[in-house]
């Protein structure tokens, strides 16, 4: 097995007296799809928030990268994006008033470098880069089937399409690792199927994906490995078929018999 892309080691996050994550150790291998599951309040989103720099864990380390390992703890959110980690949110976070295309253009921010002065002077480089960014954004808008709505305000779209806008924005940063926080929530069965095939397509292009869901049935078919969180602890880990029948997992979901 190739060396891990993301190594989370003994991560602990407390909110006052509540231990949201306790001693969580997870590794993610390149090109893997990992399902992160667990009942509500298990700490799945908290783990994502720690990885993406929105929360700072009290203890533990996180290292990311192939040869040179970036230590993620203590980095700001935008620095973590620069390392190559992008995410979506459980409660979709879109920019009100901005169009679909503008959302994706904002995703290209870290792949472009035009400063304010060159933008105001419209230098040749600035115009060239702006054209590149627009082409790239249009390409992604098309790839995610959003061309018809490119100049529509994203928040006015139906829920399923909003999820796709978020995904396209995250992909515009060209991440190596994509964190999806309950991407299937609120989607109908057809949309869920589409999402699964999108994830598989992205993985086949070399992306590593970590996907949260509390519905085991959604993540099982697509995941190479499943990590189960309960009360902030990893209670099971392994291939979907094995985790599904793990007595501790069944207990966490259904309670003791």
């Amino acid at each position: 097995m190739s060396p891990p892309l993301l190594e989370i080691n003994r991560l602990t996050k407390r909110f006052g007296g509540v231990v949201a994550l306790s001693d969580v150790t997870v590794t993610v291998a390149p090109h893997e799809i990992i399902g992160l599951i667990g009942p509500n309040g298990a700490g799945k989103t908290t783990l994502f928030n720690c990885i993406t720099g929105l929360l700072r864990p009290e203890e533990g380390t996180m290292a990311f990268g192939h040869e040179t390992k970036e230590r993620l703890v203590g980095l700001a959110a935008h620095e973590i994006v620069q390392c190559g980690i992008a995410r979506t949110f459980q409660n979709i976070r879109l920019f009100a008033h901005l169009t679909v295309l503008e959302h994706v253009l904002i995703g290209t921010y870290i792949r472009t470098h035009t400063g304010l002065v060159s933008a105001v002077l419209r230098t040749r480089e600035a115009r060239h880069e702006e054209r590149w960014a627009r082409d790239r954004a249009r390409g992604l808008v098309e790839e995610f089937g959003l061309s018809r709505w490119a100049s529509t305000p994203a928040v006015s779209l139906p829920f399923g399409l909003q999820r796709r806008v978020e995904l396209a924005r995250a992909m515009a940063v060209e991440p190596e690792l994509l964190l999806l926080d309950e991407p299937a929530a609120g989607l109908n069965p057809t949309e869920k199927q589409e999402l699964l095939s999108v994830m598989q397509r992205l993985r086949s292009h070399g992306l590593t994906i970590c996907v949260i869901d509390h519905d085991m049935r959604f993540v099982m078919p697509v995941s190479d490995r499943v990590v189960v969180l309960d009360y902030g602890q990893v209670i099971a880990e392994g291939p979907p078929s094995r985790v599904q029948n793990d007595p501790r997992v069944i207990e966490a979901y259904l309670g003791k018999a």
């Binding site: 949110f89 920019f95 933008a119 305000p153």
Partner: protein
């Protein structure tokens, strides 16, 4: 939108040919200065969504910077514009650092305090600023005109009018280009959702400081023009009411719209003069107009016009 911009510019340039009244020109020059201030504040409040209630401070810093450089070092107006902008911009960034962690209402209170502190400082630093009496004898701009040699702007109205029109045009172009660039989009992202902006890779701290610096620098330019035009500046020209007035212009015109800032400044800059005939009811009418506007089109004049399909397209986000 471009057509409307060029059209407005042509009309603006033709105004002194239509009216010979120095009073009319002066009122419009004042409105033009307001437009500069509104354009600058719009970068901070409209583009980036940072509520600022002490913007008059940057106007004051620009004015005093040029005045002091002129009086002590003899720096001419054109050369003084740059340090006035730089000083105000620097103060904008410096103020931005401590307020980085506060948002919304809290940011409004801190910036309000900043505005007052600057005004009070200029009032009390008497040895340098002349205290409440202010600074006198600031040089007017001069310009070389073929056949006439170097001409002093003096106390004539028309030269200042054209100066303000030229600067407003320049700043408008700068603002439109900033807004349409990747930085402008990043500002919009911060305005709409700072967490999501950070998670899209935007350095929110750096970009908020940049917005505050740019906005303040534009205020500084307006300040230098004001000082050069008046020849005299006193701290009470830069009070809280001015900050509120400029904010009202930005909101009235349409938050985040470059054209809105100008339209708002024209309306609120000229309206008090139009209402001079009904002197006693002036402020009352002024207030009623504001309330009516906010009730009828809360997205501002330009926002409302756009939603009705004027000026190209019903929905253009972060539009110019």
């Amino acid at each position: 939108m471009m057509r409307w911009g060029v059209g407005s510019l042509i009309v603006a340039c033709a105004v002194p040919l239509i009216t010979r009244s120095a009073y009319h020109i002066d009122v419009l020059t004042g409105a033009g200065l307001y437009a500069l201030l509104a354009l600058g504040l719009n970068v901070v409040v409209g583009f980036t969504g940072l509520l600022h209630l002490g913007y008059a401070a940057f106007f004051a810093i620009g004015a005093y910077t040029y005045a002091l450089l002129n009086l002590h070092v003899g720096v001419p107006f054109w050369l003084g514009l740059l340090p006035a902008a730089a000083m105000a911009g620097l103060c904008g960034v410096l103020l931005g650092i401590p307020v980085m962690r506060v948002r919304g209402d809290y940011l409004a209170i801190v910036t309000l305090g900043f505005g007052e502190i600057v005004r009070i400082l200029f009032t009390n630093l008497e040895p340098w600023t002349g205290g409440p009496n202010g600074l006198l004898g600031i040089a007017h701009p001069t310009m070389w005109i073929p056949g006439k040699g170097v001409v002093d702007f003096g106390v004539r109205s028309v030269p200042y009018y054209y100066l303000v029109v030229a600067l407003t045009t320049l700043v408008t172009v700068v603002c439109v280009r900033m807004n349409r660039s990747r930085v402008g989009r990043a500002w919009a992202a911060i305005r709409e959702d700072e967490v999501a902006a950070g998670c899209a890779g935007i350095n929110t701290v750096q970009l908020k400081l940049l917005a505050q610096g740019c906005g303040a620098a534009i205020g500084g330019v307006a300040g230098a023009v004001f000082a050069a035009k008046q020849g005299t500046i006193t701290p009470d020209s830069f009070d809280f009411i001015l900050s509120v007035m400029v904010l009202a212009m930005v909101v009235l015109g349409g938050l985040g719209r470059v054209s809105g800032a100008i339209v708002g400044a024209m309306v609120l800059g000229v309206l008090p003069e139009v209402l001079r005939g009904v002197e006693q009811f002036r402020m009352l009418l002024f207030g009623l107009v504001m309330i009516a506007m906010m009730r009828l089109c809360p997205q501002g004049i330009m926002g409302a016009l756009r939603d009705r399909g004027w000026f190209g397209g019903a929905h253009v986000a972060s539009a110019a």
